[in-house]
């Protein structure tokens, strides 16, 4: 956007008389290939306007857009006319057309044509990544190039026929690229704009959009979320996607008003005799064919799985970007030291807790052995002062560091009323989301200091069980009414409590405040939310995301030495160290090494891991029997 120029890449496929019905021509694959190649050029993907940032009515229908999202639900596959023939009523001329990447056919479909090809596609209901923090949104929207498609909102009043005409008739700008037997025409608009004008228009997102959406439940996993949700139509390989995957979808936007017309006119014209009418309930209609102005359709050309949603990291994987990796690795140790100082300050001067917090923030389920998730490191931060909203303040600071997070106050009311586990609604035929339907590596902050005395009802018990399962097995059992289905997840859970938490955790650390209670109030008010310059904050953000993605190994010598250590420890006092403890120490050692940018275990790291674990445990002994949750 700094160049003052804006680009847009609009792709339109023109359907000529060529043979779309011949499945062997492979034109579909060629479209996708062509497209992927174009996106690799320079930073082509930044040209593409994003549904996340640009209000829907500024985007041009049938243009190429991208969407950073999470697959919230998967609908049933649908059959559509992959190719069909239309008859011109005046001339009786037949034209073969293509139905891919479109929702609505052209006029005059010949249903009895022998050239009709039925094809199959899948629909995913996608929502923006739940709990994505404001800084992520800010940075990703500022890094993009303002698209030239930003035109005055009057645009939306144009009927869709006009839009179609527009696409079809921009002949002068077409470049024809004849391919064997099929023909695609890509239209590039290269427009130069005085930037400021459009940009201002865009950023003032009209409030009407969100307001009108309110009557429609967009099924966001977390309460209070905003943003567009989208029905993504997938044409290929849909089995490779899984629920809760995070993706960046590149596709063709379809907001045809005809789609909404369906819902509106249904009541008036419904006839009992039409067999197709009685199939869906009103609820199902609403969910599966919402007005396109609220839930646009996106016809996927290509989707990039997102290993993370940190916009500060280059979009290529770390292995492919060795320059970036080596420069960050060399800085890791120093950034870690800075971060440690900062977090120590935040944690009331407790350096050990700060160190554990770093380990927790970079933990990640990197593998599963049968049912055992490896690498998880759920932490219980006990001894949190209840005063002065310390936990909220603490969460706000973490929020600045991690890309996505969610604060769950474990008050009795919340536990008894909130829907944590997604549940299938068979009437509307959709998966009603719950707060535990989160993207990978989301930071989940459970604030137990809010828990008061009272009784958990059935929902409450179920919610607590679900949280326990999440922590112990990193899975959530979605409720399908007649059965449950298990979905693995990868969520960093941190429980803040006064005493030991009622939930299980991989490690409990008792906060030792260096601040005397009378001064607490003052100390807290002095913790600044943004003490750093944004560049330093960004360094922390990059540091945490990179550390999490590093590979790790243990050499044979280190294996041997760890074994020796374990045997020695057990020799002295068999009760002191159990297999469970070794499990935890191995995780701590791993995270400790990664936090220092080391990709294999060293003797020093192992000793340090042992040391801090020992410190932590000795601290715990002092604080035993704080409440009844001790084992």
């Amino acid at each position: 956007s700094t160049t003052g120029e804006s680009w847009s890449l609009t792709l339109t496929i023109i359907y000529s008389k060529t043979d779309f019905s011949n499945p062997k021509s492979g034109w579909e694959a060629k479209v996708v290939e062509f497209f992927k190649d174009r996106l690799k050029e320079k930073d082509a993907h930044t040209w593409v306007p994003s549904l996340n940032d640009v209000p829907l009515h500024y985007l041009k229908p049938n243009s190429l857009v991208k969407f950073r999202c999470l697959i919230q639900d998967m609908f049933d596959p649908e059959f559509f006319m992959g190719a069909y023939e239309t008859v011109d009523p005046s001339t009786n001329a037949k034209v073969l057309r293509c139905g891919r990447y479109k929702d609505v056919t052209e006029c005059g479909v010949d249903f009895n044509s022998r050239n009709t090809v039925t094809a199959e596609r899948q629909t995913f209901y996608c929502v923006p990544i739940p709990g994505e923090n404001p800084w992520v949104k800010e940075i990703s929207s500022s890094s993009r190039v303002v698209p030239s498609t930003s035109y005055a909102p009057t645009r939306q009043k144009r009927s869709y026929e006009e839009d179609d005409m527009d696409d079809m008739d921009t002949q002068p700008q077409k470049q024809r690229e004849p391919h064997s037997g099929w023909e695609l025409v890509y239209i590039y608009f290269l427009q130069t704009h005085g930037n400021g004008d459009c940009k201002r228009q865009e950023t003032e997102a009209p409030s009407s959009q969100t307001a009108s959406a309110s009557h429609l439940d967009l099924n966001f996993p977390l309460p209070g979320e905003k943003g567009p949700s989208c029905l993504v139509k997938v044409y290929e390989d849909w089995d490779s996607f899984k629920l809760n995957d995070t993706l960046e979808v590149f596709g063709i936007l379809s907001v045809s008003p005809a789609l909404s017309a369906l819902a509106d006119e249904k009541d008036a014209s419904s006839s009992i005799l039409d067999p197709t009418e009685s199939m869906e309930t009103a609820e199902e209609q609403r969910v599966h064919s919402p007005p396109a102005s609220l839930v646009p359709r996106l016809h996927m050309l290509y989707a990039r799985p997102l290993p993370h949603n940190n916009p500060l990291l280059p979009s290529a994987t770390l292995e492919d970007n060795s320059a970036f990796l080596s420069s960050t690795l060399s800085e890791m140790a120093s950034v870690r030291a800075e971060l440690l100082t900062y977090l120590t300050h935040v944690l009331l001067g407790d350096a050990l807790a700060a160190e554990y917090l770093i380990l927790h923030l970079i933990s990640n389920v990197y593998a599963r052995r049968d049912v055992l998730p490896l690498g998880k490191f759920a932490m219980n931060l006990s001894g949190c002062p209840a005063a002065a909203l310390y936990t909220q303040r603490f969460y706000q600071i973490i929020q600045q560091l991690v890309p996505s997070s969610f604060y769950l106050g474990m008050s009795l009311q919340n536990m008894n009323q909130m829907r944590l586990v997604p549940k299938k609604d068979y009437v509307a035929n959709r998966l009603v989301s719950g707060a535990l339907q989160l993207a990978r590596n989301t930071f989940l902050f459970l604030d137990e200091t809010h828990l008061e005395q009272g009784q958990l009802d059935t929902t409450g018990v179920r919610n607590v069980t679900a949280l326990g399962n999440l922590i112990s097995w990193q899975k959530v059992d979605y409720d399908f009414n007649y059965h449950q289905m298990e979905f693995p997840c990868n969520i960093n859970v941190l429980i803040a409590s006064e005493g030991r938490s009622l939930l299980p955790s991989d490690c409990q650390i008792h906060l030792q405040s260096q601040v005397s209670p009378p001064n607490m109030e003052e100390y807290l008010s002095n913790i600044q939310l943004h003490p750093q310059t944004s560049s330093q904050l960004n360094k922390f953000r990059i540091y945490l995301s990179v550390a999490r993605q590093l590979d790790y190994s243990i050499s044979d010598e280190m294996t041997k030495s760890v074994e020796d250590d374990f045997v020695d420890m057990r020799k002295d006092d068999p009760q002191s160290v159990s297999a469970e403890d070794l499990h935890r120490m191995l995780v701590v050692a791993r995270l400790l090494s990664l936090s220092l940018g080391q990709t294999s275990l060293t003797r020093d790291s192992w000793l340090r891991a042992k040391h801090i674990d020992m410190l932590r445990r000795s601290r715990m002994e002092q604080h035993q029997c704080v409440n009844g949750n001790e084992p």
Partner: protein, 859 residues
């Protein structure tokens, strides 16, 4: 219902064309055959009720050219069951001559096959190929009549099906499947006889049997069900009324094929399946109310009262504009009461959880049930459904002419088969039938042939959990289970085949992890925690269904894991009332329910895998199992194997453990996969063995079992203890059978018994060793107390009695005082528990009574 998409499907079917004429035989020209057939069967034909059908009576001129005209759609050979002509006017129905039964029996509409078919027959010879899209591929076939768009020749098809009915004998039939049928007689003729007796005019035909009899016929049935099934109907009715001319049926027999193709997964349905016969499995999630669907509209002229009937075509009625009788325009009015309706119900089914790939949500499909299939299934039922897959284009709006390019798909149900209903009858091979490919079976058999298969499998079980080899072996045997036996004839009822296992031990010894693993491994597993479950959660409860407002029985974990494994964690934390329901389940394998007017007995043939923590957080080696976990011995004796999971605490073990854990943490995914057997292979192996292997005891094995049992009893008898009860013998048999299953052996041999003995002994050694004497003492588990402990209790009671008597005449004593006195007197330590027990036994003798802190003498 002809959808535009049927074209590709039909094209595909055409390559089978050349086979058909050759089977007909070149010697009989179709036209001749037709005539002969007509005259022989003419009296069985439905009574002609309209001019169109009149032409087809035997007397009518036979002209093949007629068949290619559109009017030929009402030819008898492919008379549409839903055609109004079949119904006739009421007066014409009466005309049926009494001697002809087909005529007297009304045909019933079959909306499941599509409400309207406009499928004229075409003569491939006289018709230019372009007209029907068919390729006249057989140059010398002469005239050949097929239904438009298909390669089905009605006459041939009918004849073939009749041949099938008359001759098919199922070579693989087993006694219990076809109760009361003679296996050496043609199966379907017996079924027809059944129909004549029972009067239920539905003939279910197993497609696999059709396939084995005539592959070509089967292919046609699958590809063109809409055309072929009515032909089958005709064939079977002709045959039936020929054989049982005096039978009176409510309506004509309808053929309901099932088991089309292999039972397919909903996920694998694709556009190729449109308009074909398919069978898929799934679970019913919603059923709609009954929808009356108009089949035929009745119009009456307001002027002259002339009436006419119009068939509903694709949901639309073509209202006649002119009265044919009085020539008035727009004088006809629809009379609802006299229109014909059929019942219809929308059913939604969802993929079975077992069929789904991980990480995806289940798909749903809409099914329409018609006529008597309405209300056959309820939400929650697991069914196999056979029907025709349909796709209908969606209209965006009646005003706009362009359409949403999406089709709505549904299945017109022809046949339902509840899979869980079969489970109730104890026949579950069908529901469990996982189809294994030849290759897979080969792999599994190769694996089974390996001498160390038992060790291999047990080490493949939960590789992340270190050692505990015997426990894994026990769980492995549990996964396979014993052979199911039925002794209900002799009054014993079902014999438990499932192996129950209890794991107890220190917290943090990965008991939960083992449970989780097992729960994830077996298809019908349930995982529940003793802390969070109530008795109703385990068994069943009655609730009001929010949708139907009917009382429904919601089944709990134990019933849901029928034929699977129910994993119960924190068994010790379970409340007593909850635990008590387990008594019935764990021995009788049933669950009796009597609540809210629902009294029933459900099957709960589940194996229980439970884990319990010691009452004191650490296992106390000085106490017995019972004392450590404080579970009622009545329940404990129902476990075949009770394992202790303890921390062994020796250096070599520690080293191996450490090595195991470290490698667990850094090995890559691939390495692990090389090392261990794939979980999927293990799962298939178990499923295969459970389905196909039913080992029986061999002579030697029985002998070995008897010896083992006698030995076990002998061990104890020397010390005045009993170390084995019949239950232990049953356990041994189950374990031996399970071990034979592991080997894919149909016979239980001595090695199986040896392993069962070993494992049983190991488990006993761990859990039933009397900590005071070091001997294995089964009475710990059966009576809750070891024989020595019982003796000790007696002694203390006697000592206490003496003490009290020595005190002389004191009617009341302080509890604490008495305890202190006894302690002072005795040379062995007297625990409070022991003292209480002694008091209790004296109270049982009516010698004294304890109230609060006072002990009163009674005598």
């Amino acid at each position: 219902m002809s959808s535009p998409t049927s074209t590709p499907g039909r094209k595909r079917g055409r390559d089978g064309n050349p086979a058909t004429p050759s089977s007909e035989g070149p010697t009989s020209p179709p036209s001749q055959r037709r005539r002969g057939q007509d005259s022989s069967n003419g009296d069985l034909m439905p009574m002609p009720t309209s001019p169109a059908t009149d032409m087809l009576s035997p007397a009518a001129p036979q002209d093949t050219s007629l068949f290619s005209s559109p009017r030929a759609s009402v030819l008898p050979n492919e008379v549409d069951m839903s055609s109004p002509l079949m119904y006739g006017t009421p007066s014409s129905r009466v005309e049926g001559t009494p001697r002809s039964s087909v005529r007297g029996t009304p045909a019933r509409q079959r909306p499941d096959l599509g409400s309207v078919r406009k499928a004229p027959q075409v003569d491939l010879h006289s018709e230019p190929p372009s007209a029907d899209g068919a390729v006249a591929s057989e140059p010398n076939a002469g005239q050949r009549l097929v239904i438009w768009g298909t390669d089905v020749n009605v006459g041939t098809c009918k004849e073939k099906f009749q041949r099938f009915l008359q001759r098919f004998i199922d070579p693989t039939a087993t006694e219990d499947e076809n109760a009361g049928l003679d296996l050496n007689e043609p199966l379907y003729m017996q079924k027809l006889e059944e129909i004549s007796v029972v009067g239920d005019p539905v003939l279910n035909v197993n497609c696999l049997q059709v396939q084995s009899f005539d592959a070509e016929l089967y292919r046609q049935l699958i590809c063109y069900p809409q055309e072929v099934i009515p032909t089958f109907d005709m064939a079977v009715n002709e045959l039936f009324f020929e054989r049982f001319p005096d039978s009176i049926l409510e309506y004509q027999i309808q053929v309901r094929p099932y088991n089309a193709l292999k039972t397919r997964n909903m996920r694998s349905l694709n556009p190729e399946d449109i308009d074909q016969l398919i069978t898929i499995s799934g679970m019913v999630i919603r059923t709609s109310q009954l929808i009356p669907e108009m089949q035929e509209a009745f119009f009456q002229c307001q002027v002259c009262a002339y009436s006419t009937r119009v068939e509903v075509d694709r949901g639309r009625i073509a209202e006649p504009a002119v009265c044919r009788h009085c020539n008035n325009t727009h004088s006809l009015a629809l009379v609802h009461n006299r229109s014909a309706f059929s019942d219809k119900q929308m059913i939604k089914i969802q993929e079975s959880p077992e069929d789904m790939p991980a990480g995806q949500t289940p798909h749903t499909t809409i099914v329409y049930a018609h006529n008597d299939l309405v209300d056959k299934v309820q939400p929650g039922d697991r069914i196999n459904i056979t029907g025709i897959y349909r796709a209908v284009p969606m209209r965006v709006s009646p005003i706009q002419s362009n359409v949403k390019s999406v089709y709505k798909t549904h299945i017109d149900a022809i046949h339902f088969r509840k899979t869980d209903e079969k489970r109730l009858h104890g026949l579950d091979e069908d529901a469990e039938q996982k189809l294994f490919t030849e290759d897979r079976v080969q792999t599994l058999k190769e694996l089974a042939a390996k001498p160390d298969v038992y060790e291999r499998l047990s080490s493949a079980l939960a590789p992340s959990i270190y050692e505990h080899e015997d426990i894994k072996k026990g769980i492995l045997l549990q996964l396979f289970g014993g052979t199911r036996k039925d002794f209900s004839q002799t009054g014993r009822g079902n014999f438990r085949a499932e192996v129950n296992i209890l794991l107890c031990g220190d917290p943090g010894t990965s008991k939960s992890q083992l449970l989780q693993y097992v729960f994830n491994l077996v298809p019908r597993g349930q995982y529940t925690s003793g802390k969070g479950s109530s008795a109703v959660g385990l068994t069943a409860y009655v609730m009001k269904d929010p949708e139907t407002r009917q009382l429904v029985l919601q089944t709990g974990a134990l019933v849901l894991s029928d034929n699977g494994i129910c994993c119960i964690d924190e068994f010790d934390k379970m409340s007593d009332s909850t635990r008590s329901v387990l008594h019935e389940v764990m021995e009788q394998q049933t669950l009796s329910i009597a609540k809210a007017g629902i009294i029933c007995q459900l099957n709960a043939r589940t194996a229980v895998l439970a884990a319990a923590n010691p009452v004191e957080s650490q296992w106390n080696p000085k106490k017995t199992t019972i004392e450590n976990i404080q579970l009622p011995h009545t329940l404990l004796s129902r476990f075949d194997l009770i394992f202790l999971m303890l921390d062994p605490q020796d250096e070599a073990y520690d080293r191996r453990l450490a090595h195991h854990l470290v490698s667990l943490y850094y090995q890559s995914e691939e390495q692990i996969e090389e090392e261990f057997l794939d979980m999927a292979v293990l799962r298939d192996y178990i499923a295969y063995a459970r389905t196909y292997i039913n080992p029986r005891l061999s002579e030697e094995a029985s002998q070995a079992l008897i010896e083992a049992y006698v030995d076990m009893r002998k061990i104890g008898s020397g010390r005045g203890m009993v170390s084995a009860y019949p239950r232990q013998l049953e356990s041994l048999i189950r374990l031996a059978e399970a071990h034979a299953k592991v080997r894919f052996s149909e016979k239980v041999e001595t090695i199986d018994v040896e392993e069962a003995k070993r494992l049983h002994r190991e488990a006993l050694k761990q859990s039933a060793t009397d900590p005071r004497t070091g001997f294995v003492d089964i009475s710990i588990l059966t009576t809750g107390m070891s024989a020595t402990a019982r003796k000790r209790k007696e002694e203390v009671a006697q000592a206490l009695k003496k003490l009290i008597q020595a005190k002389g005449k004191t009617p009341a004593m302080k509890y604490q005082q008495l305890l202190d006195d006894l302690r002072g007197q005795s040379e062995t330590a007297i625990t409070k528990e022991l003292f209480d027990e002694a008091l209790r036994s004296l109270a049982d003798e009516d010698y004294l009574t304890v109230t609060g802190k006072t002990v009163r003498l009674l005598a």
